[in-house]
Amino acid sequence: MDVEPMILLMVAAGGALGSMSRLAVGNGVSAWLGAGFPWGTLAVNLSGALLMGLLAGAVGLPGPEAPRPGWALLAVGLLGGYTTVSSFSLQTLLLWRQGRTGAALANVLVTLLAGFAALGLGVWLAGGLT
């Protein structure tokens, strides 16, 4: 399948904006709640899941065809780049390596459970999946 330059540009621009927002939100939340637990990444992933739910509820789930520019910018780029799995994995690993097994386990469970709850809430607030 061909890569459309316009779509790729949307993904790249969204990805850049998304990660800079992640940095800003993550720093803000860490300054507020402390760096003893990865609150920043948690806040980013939960808010990103909520926004993704809202977006999917508003415009519908994407089909197998190539994404439209709006979806490429907002979903694939912006929210895709805003949320992160790599920081979550590393921070969980570091908690575990520090002997904070309970905190590591809590990070995994809260991220997953609250993440899916936030996603579902977003979809529901936007009127459900069509």
Partner: protein, 129 residues
């Protein structure tokens, strides 16, 4: 590094990471199961672990200097939690609850194992070089 340089490095890395993620999704398009995102999240976690291990042990290395670009930027933009969630929801919506459950049960251990392995490799590299 000044704040704006930090932001620029992260933004640039993430533009690259997100574009590569999209290209991989296009190249692997087809099967119902979201293999591209699974692959991307595992590889991104591995790289994140490796970069962190090298950067903590060698504070003045090139890897440490490039950490904002590589870690928060590239790995952060490459991997994605929101699309992982959306894909799980999509499987549920297509009445494939077992695939959705399987996707979740495979993803998280794989991410963590990848970060762990990347960290070990990074530690070894930092000692040897």
């Amino acid at each position: 590094m000044k704040a704006w340089q930090h932001y620029a490095a992260v933004g640039l890395g993430s533009a690259l990471g997100a574009s590569l993620r999209y290209a991989i999704a296009l190249a692997m398009l087809g099967p119902v199961f979201p293999w591209p995102t699974l692959l991307v999240n595992a590889v991104g976690s591995w790289l994140m672990g490796a970069v962190a291990a090298v950067a903590t042990q060698r504070l003045h290395s090139r890897v440490a200097r490039w950490q904002p670009f590589l870690a928060s930027g590239f790995c952060g933009g490459f991997t994605t939690f929101s699309l992982f969630g959306l894909e799980t929801l999509q499987l549920l919506n297509e009445a494939r609850p077992w695939l959705a459950l399987g996707y979740m049960m495979i993803s998280v251990p794989l991410w963590l194992a990848a970060a762990w392995h990347g960290y070990r490799v990074g530690q070894r590299l930092a000692i040897e070089t």
